[in-house]
């Protein structure tokens, strides 16, 4: 397989540059990385055209982010390109941690069968971006502008004025909303004088992508103090096309420019890989910070991804949390832009994703303390854990080489309707909907792909031979609301129950939907357009569902004004 060559996308002069006055757009997204692309696609799928501005003219140089979590893949499924990413990449579920030369810990991230996606798919960032670009173009609603650098942003009441520099001069546009996804250094954040607070970690890491034929299993391998790189940590991970990611801890007192020279890098890799032939494709030296902005909405400007929060890479929480930001923002911005919800809904974007960022930062900070102890005593305890882990199972669970990204449960969100009925299990209001296999019209499908990106209901009619009249009428009435709710009906396999026209029947052929949602006959779940649970009851009542939709969109009377 060939080595990846970065494509160069042509700069195209926009008609906006010849307009007598700045042209007005609904939404500009700044930064065509994974987060900006996901946001633009999501907005397009909600009918909102975007101008997507990027100061470069290619996809990611070097592979950078690698691991895409199950939840990210499910979001990409909703955006229409999860399958392409999963097929292009390599799926994995397991990891091993070594101390010196012995394995002290191993983990499996997905013990449960009956999920469409594995715990993780590894894929070079440039391939992810190529797939997202293809998807963005296919929407016909994303106006991609390469070599377009935002050099000024001014926010007045009704809009945001952007000044954009291009190879043939600067021009201005005015936008109702700006979504900023321009990365950790975020020029726009700096332009607005906004801070990202937290700590910079005093350590450096060498990342290298190498091409080699190797028969290691597709697992995440992490070493503390390995014989080939004493006193430091190392990570090995497979990507697509026989490309392997190697991450070596260097320590703070190293010269990054010196360390990225191939004459330094190759011998280090040779230590690790022995006589195996390899080709060095890309190398970088990085340090990182754990920090976030105080809030992610500033008037008509919304921050997402690394621009809003940065963390240690060891939990694969960067791109994964960024894609979740986009997922959270898309439907809200679309509803606000179309007048279906008040601007307060965008504050919930900030509230929910700040809470998620804090959860990610907490885990990232703990992993960082273990991998890069900040004091001598911290280092002593870390070493004590590793020594004990060789003999004692209890200590193995303390070994922290990165707790890998799991989706945020938006438990405290103001958009949730609190449970009035008793439920067990994890599908609490705020949780991302669990997937499960279902049969639709005799075909094997997945629950999440049957839900779509509007408000959805799930009514459980297991064991029922007819849908109760008031349920059928209620389900029908919800589809006619200003913010419609489309309900799917879940039944046990082979149930011939007649449903009103247009209502999808999901046969729960392994009983996993009912189990995962702790649902019985009559249970009703209300899901948001981003497929998070926002309300559930043991019995269906259209009026309560309607009320929950108003709450989930900040449309409750007396709330928005």
């Amino acid at each position: 397989m060939g080595v990846f060559q970065n494509p160069v996308f042509e700069y195209v002069r926009s008609p906006d540059q010849d307009a007598p006055a700045p042209v007005r757009h609904a939404v500009a997204v700044v930064g065509a990385g994974p987060v900006g692309l996901a946001a633009a696609i999501d907005l397009a799928q909600h009918g909102l055209p975007t101008v997507l501005l990027d100061d470069d003219s290619t996809v990611s140089v070097g592979s950078r982010s690698v691991c895409y979590a199950k939840r990210t893949l499910e979001i990409l499924d909703r955006l229409g390109c999860g399958e392409r990413v999963a097929r292009r990449g390599v799926g994995w579920n397991a990891g091993r941690v070594y101390f010196q030369d012995i394995q002290v810990y191993s983990f499996t991230l997905m013990p449960e069968p009956g999920n469409r996606r594995p715990a993780f798919v590894n894929l070079q960032q440039y391939y992810l971006e190529e797939i997202l670009l293809e998807q963005a173009r296919a929407t016909g609603k994303v106006d991609l502008r390469w070599k377009s650098r935002v050099v000024d942003l001014r926010q007045d009441g009704p809009g945001v004025a952007l000044r954009i520099e291009t190879p043939d001069g600067a021009y201005g546009i005015v936008c109702d909303w700006v979504v900023v996804c321009d990365g950790a250094r975020s020029p726009l954040r700096q332009m607005m004088g906004l801070e990202c607070r937290g700590e910079v970690i005093r350590d450096r890491f060498l990342i290298a992508d190498v091409l080699m034929d190797a028969d290691y299993p597709v697992e995440r391998w992490f070493w503390f103090d390995p014989p080939f790189h004493p006193n430091h940590s190392a990570l090995l991970h497979r990507q697509a096309d026989n490309v392997w990611r190697i991450d070596l801890q260097l320590g703070w007192d190293t010269d990054p420019d010196e360390e990225r020279r191939p004459e330094r890098v190759v011998p280090r890799l040779r230590q690790m890989l022995g006589d195996r032939e390899f080709e060095l494709l890309w190398v970088g030296v990085y340090s990182f910070a754990c920090r976030r902005m105080e809030r992610f909405r500033h008037g008509r400007v919304l921050f997402a991804g690394d621009a809003a929060h940065q963390m240690s890479p060891f939990g694969a929480r960067g791109t994964n949390s960024g894609i979740q930001d986009a997922d959270n923002l898309g439907w809200k911005l679309a509803m606000v832009a179309s007048g279906m919800a008040p601007v307060e809904l965008l504050d919930s974007y900030s509230d929910e994703r700040v809470a998620a960022a804090d959860e990610n930062l907490l885990h990232a900070a703990r992993s960082t303390e273990f991998i890069t102890p900040k004091s001598r005593m911290s280092r002593t305890f870390r070493d004590a854990v590793l020594l004990l882990a060789r003999s004692y199972p209890f200590a193995r669970r303390m070994v922290n080489s990165g707790r890998l990204s799991v989706p945020a449960v938006l438990r405290d969100s103001a958009l949730n309707t609190a449970d009035a009925d008793l439920f067990a299990g994890p599908m609490t209001p705020g949780a991302p909907a669990a997937d499960a296999p279902v049969v639709v019209n005799g075909e094997l499908r997945w629950l999440l792909e049957c839900l779509g990106n509007r408000f959805n209901g799930m009514y459980f009619a297991n064991g029922m031979s007819v849908l109760p009249g008031e349920v059928a009428a209620g389900i029908a009435s919800l589809t006619l609301d200003r913010i419609p709710v489309e309900t799917r009906v879940v039944v046990e396999p082979g149930n011939p129950i007649e449903l009103p026209p247009g209502v999808m029947k999901l046969e729960d052929y392994e009983d996993l939907v009912a189990q995962r949602y702790d649902a019985g006959p009559g249970t009703f779940y209300l899901l948001r357009p981003d497929q998070h649970v926002c309300a559930r009851w043991r019995a269906f009542d259209a009026q309560r569902a309607r009320q929950a939709v108003l709450r989930a969109t900040c449309n409750e009377p007396g709330r928005s004004d």
Binding site: M377, T380, F381, A384, V385, L387, L388, F394, M398
Partner: protein, 64 residues
Amino acid sequence: MKLTVEANLADPDEFYAMLIEAHRDLSDEQSQLLNAKLILLLANHVGDPEVLRQALDAAREGIA
């Protein structure tokens, strides 16, 4: 659960001697590692996070 602070060792002198003996001939660095391992082993034995929190607070008291 509450942290036991009443006398609970049958023979306190014996335990103290065992503790000092365990550190015999170790460098400061080695002793620190031994202490750290000991704390982790005992913490796992205790298990209860509330008891551990009380013990940490009591240990920290009066230091800084």
